[in-house]
Amino acid sequence: MDQPSHISVILDLSPSQWHLSSLPQNPYPLSLKSFLAQVLAFLNLHIASKHENTLAIFGAFPGKSVMLYSSTDPASDSSDSGSPNIYRPFEIVDSRVVTRIEEELESIDDSQEEAPIGLVGALTKALCYINRIKHPTPSTQSNGTTVEDPATLPDPRILILSVSPDLSTSYIPIMNSIFSAQKLKIIIDVCKIYGPDTVFLEQAAHLTGGSYVYLERRDALLQHLVMSHLPSPALRKLMAVPTQDKIDFRAACFCHKNIVDVGFVCSVCLSIFCRPVAVCTTCRTKFPMSTLRRLDAYLPRAAKQANGTAKTSAPPTPTATGLPSTPR
């Protein structure tokens, strides 16, 4: 129960989204600066709560992703002597993270600012990093001496603090990351701080057994982080951590990005279409005419359904399901 834990934090650092988030017309405006202050306080708590706890911080910037800090590669800067009033490990984390973020944000020029956020890169790096610390190899002899006993690293988790909306192009890589997290038994927690709900991250949290929380009271960020993300997964089983009850498992068609109930799927590349098509637009496979004729019979209904239910994600009430049981 009081085993050490590892947490990999992914900070979504999109300058434009953070600018929008700090505008005063928001119900609870939150600037990047106060966000970082609260997150760092949370991370200090994590380090302080147990000596063996480990930490890695990844930043997702427009068009790239960077590892900002990791506790296995301690800071190389011994230059600043440090303030006598601050616990040394806190100071290292804080100064490293803040300076790295400043460096990275400086280096972004205007043309890059609108580039899609490098969330996938940050997520895959976090996975590779956890894979590395879970399987320490004898080849890391160089200077590390950071060979850790894998038994001391139960239930590593990833915490994503997201402000950017979903990127439809990153669907497949994000799903791939989710499946590898499942394989490694890594929990992905998501805290959505600004912007619309993201379906991809909802699925990430659901499929890995983590929690997805849309933060409404953004002035209570630190409190929320401490209450639901500080306890280790072992402890969390005993607590009532917010979970989602409805998860949308419907898919978006590749042609119009409509959410569909019944879709038409290419057997070769699994592209999803909202209506029967003669040629797959993804892999250029031609479909036989007989199938098209057969499926056209369903078209009016399927099309109606697709239009009718698009974007209405209210879960249907299960009242109509008391079907007569059918013995097979």
């Binding site: 490098g118 996975l127 990093y129 499929l207 498992f249 038409f264 098209l292 359904q305 399901t321």
Partner: protein, 446 residues
């Protein structure tokens, strides 16, 4: 790994004939082979080193391992493992079209020969154990596939489980060992015909595969098994055989003519390797070539699929259509609103194929694989060299590793592997991890 196994096989160069000769008393002693072997060991010794044909392509791992200067095996073993893993991920780079929707029937030999103890604890127990692992891994990589089970026992084919897309259903069928107790002789023809019969209705874009785990050297058939082979070719059923005893001509012929794989397990580890080679979705090209005359049939199709709504476990309970049980959680068929327990499945009411979008997504990595990374051989070329791995931030060694004698086969002596797209460097572990598990390059995010 018991090296004795391979030596034994090499010694008894004509065990087939022996076993056929004394097949009369074989049923009595059951372990005829083992006894033959010990007799011959004394007589012939190591005189005949001629290996069997199926042994030729198999390099014994203990032959290739060599001690390093310090007399330790660890570096050699680590090297070997890394090289094997890299070879595996470099191999399938060119196959593009894969059959994603698969239907497989596993035929288990449940004849008396499975009680042979040449594999620990017995062939029977080992096969069951590996079959379980195989099924779990198979469903992980083929989430839209379905597996059925058929047993060969006492001259009959025996249906152990229907085709199902739910791993739990399939595993349950082989969980009760006492119900599968081996008896009698196997009948390949009966079992294959039974498997063939249950695949006749399948659509052409899905694969039809039979995997036979075969421990015997005989088969008791009611008719001509070559006619069965003919019908399998016509139905485009791919038959693969993993034999535990020795090569049988008819098995080899089945595999060759239907485009399947044939292998004889040399030891426990090799048995598992042979099985697990069959897990990745097969390239579709091979299938249509093997089919020959049937190739004009379309192998691509448009499928109608339903994406269900998942009911939380707080919703009011209702009866499911699959088990008629009262429960809260479940999935609603989008066409007829029937409630099913698990996806993917075919709706029991309206027949619509119900999948969740993550199930589809789980197969995408077979279709869009990460490009293989290139091994960086020297530090001289180019100028910018990152100090640490782009993915896990492990620092790279400055000088070539002393112990890396084998620089061939795409191994980098300095432990750097470079993505051809984003030009970032990755360490060996991440290279393997990214290609085997993550299926997404951290540098380019694709």
């Amino acid at each position: 790994m018991p090296p004795r196994q391979a030596d034994d096989y090499a010694d008894e160069s004509d065990s087939d004939i022996d076993i056929l000769e004394d097949s009369g008393n074989r049923s009595k002693k059951g372990k005829g082979k083992a006894i033959d072997r010990s007799k011959k060991d004394k007589g012939k010794g190591k005189s005949s080193e001629q290996p069997y044909a199926w042994e030729a392509s198999y390099t014994r791992s203990w032959d290739t391992v060599q001690e390093d200067e310090a007399g330790s095996l660890t570096t050699a073993v680590a090297d070997l493992l890394a090289r094997n893993r890299r070879r595996r991920l470099l191999a399938p780079a060119d196959a593009i079209r894969r059959t994603i929707i698969r239907h497989l029937i596993i035929i288990l030999d449940l004849s008396l020969s499975m009680l042979d103890r040449d594999m620990r604890p017995t062939r029977f127990d080992l096969s069951l154990e590996y079959a379980r692992e195989f099924i779990v891994e198979w469903f992980d990589q083929n989430p839209l596939g379905q597996i059925g089970l058929v047993g060969m026992r006492a001259g009959l084919g025996e249906r152990l489980s229907e085709m199902s897309g739910n791993p739990q259903d399939v595993l349950k069928a082989i969980s009760e060992r006492h119900r599968l107790e081996p008896a009698g002789e196997p009948s390949l023809q009966n079992a294959i015909e039974m498997a063939r019969g249950s695949m006749g209705h399948l659509p052409t874009h899905s694969s039809r595969e039979i995997l036979i785990i075969f421990g015997s050297l005989t088969t008791v058939d009611p008719g001509n098994i070559l006619e069965t082979l003919e019908r399998c070719v016509q139905d485009r059923i791919r038959v693969s055989v993993v034999a535990l005893a020795a090569e049988m001509k008819v098995c080899r012929e089945f595999c060759d003519k239907t485009g399947g794989q044939f292998g004889v397990a040399m030891n426990e580890g090799h048995f598992k390797d042979l099985l697990f080679e069959l897990i990745p979705p097969p390239a579709q090209r091979a299938l249509s070539r093997a089919a020959g005359a049937g190739a004009n049939k379309p192998d691509a199709d448009l499928m109608m699929m339903g994406f269900p709504v998942r009911l939380p476990d707080t919703s009011p309970p209702a009866l499911c259509v699959c088990h008629s049980e009262l429960k809260s959680e479940g999935f609603l068929c989008p066409r007829c609103s029937a409630k099913v327990c698990d996806v993917p499945t075919d709706c029991d009411i309206c027949g619509l194929m119900i999948v969740s979008s993550p199930h589809l997504a789980r197969s995408y990595h077979h279709l869009f694989p990460v490009k293989p990374y290139q091994a960086v051989t020297t530090l001289e070329e180019g100028s910018a060299f990152a100090k640490s791995c782009h993915a896990c931030a492990r620092s790279f060694p400055d000088a070539p590793l002393a112990s890396s004698t084998a620089t061939a086969e795409g191994m980098s002596p300095i432990g750097r592997y470079r993505c051809p797209d984003c030009q970032h460097d990755f360490c060996t572990e991440c290279d393997v991890f990214i290609h085997d598990v993550v299926h997404c390059c951290p540098g380019c995010g694709k």
